[in-house]
């Protein structure tokens, strides 16, 4: 498994739990889950680039 795949799976599982537990209606659960997933993956990519640039 690649590091990116691990990030995606982590984001997926955590987002499902966050969506279901932090919102009340199914529609808002889905929207919040997608929002969390995008934030997880986007922040991982951004931080990865930041670390890459700092380490150069």
């Amino acid at each position: 498994m690649t590091h990116f795949a691990a990030v995606v799976f982590f984001a997926l599982f955590a987002s499902v739990v966050f969506g279901i537990t932090q919102r009340e209606t199914p529609r808002r659960m889905l929207r919040y889950g997608i929002y969390c997933f995008i934030l997880f993956v986007a922040s991982a990519i951004a931080l990865s680039w930041l670390m890459y640039l700092v380490a150069r």
Partner: protein
């Protein structure tokens, strides 16, 4: 705001902490007890999936509490309830991280436990009517 259905659930008799305890012991069981089949199945699949992937990546199961990081890791692992106990009985999980992915696996297992605690508390909130 709690719906009438949930107020009715809250008004039912029985042990009010049962969904909390069941949800902690078995991922999703708290929601199943409240007949929230879809939510319970998604929670169970997510938590079991994360725990299984952690084991597959040779993640470590914390067994002792010699320093503060071990204590925190053990607390997270204990959130998995029976999954942690059964895994310990069958000797699953690495004793020491020996491969690169092992660190990720260890975090997956700890986070699965923390997510399971969140899910169990959510089941409790549904049971008491604080959440619909």
């Amino acid at each position: 705001m709690a719906t009438q259905e949930n107020k009715n659930v809250a008004a039912e008799g029985g042990f009010v902490y049962l969904p909390l305890i069941a949800g902690w012991l078995v991922p999703g069981a708290g929601h199943f007890l409240l007949r929230k089949w879809g939510r319970g199945a998604l929670l169970a699949a997510s938590i079991l999936g994360m725990f299984a992937m952690g084991l597959a990546m040779h993640g470590k199961l914390y067994t002792n509490a010699h320093d503060i990081l071990d204590i925190l890791g053990l607390a997270g692992d204990l959130g998995n309830g029976l999954l942690f106990v059964v895994s310990r009985i069958f000797g699953l999980g690495a004793d020491q991280v020996q491969v690169t992915t092992g660190d990720y696996g260890t975090r997956f297992i700890v986070v699965a436990g923390l997510l399971n605690v969140i899910a169990a508390v959510d089941a409790h909130n549904l049971r008491t009517g604080r959440k619909s």
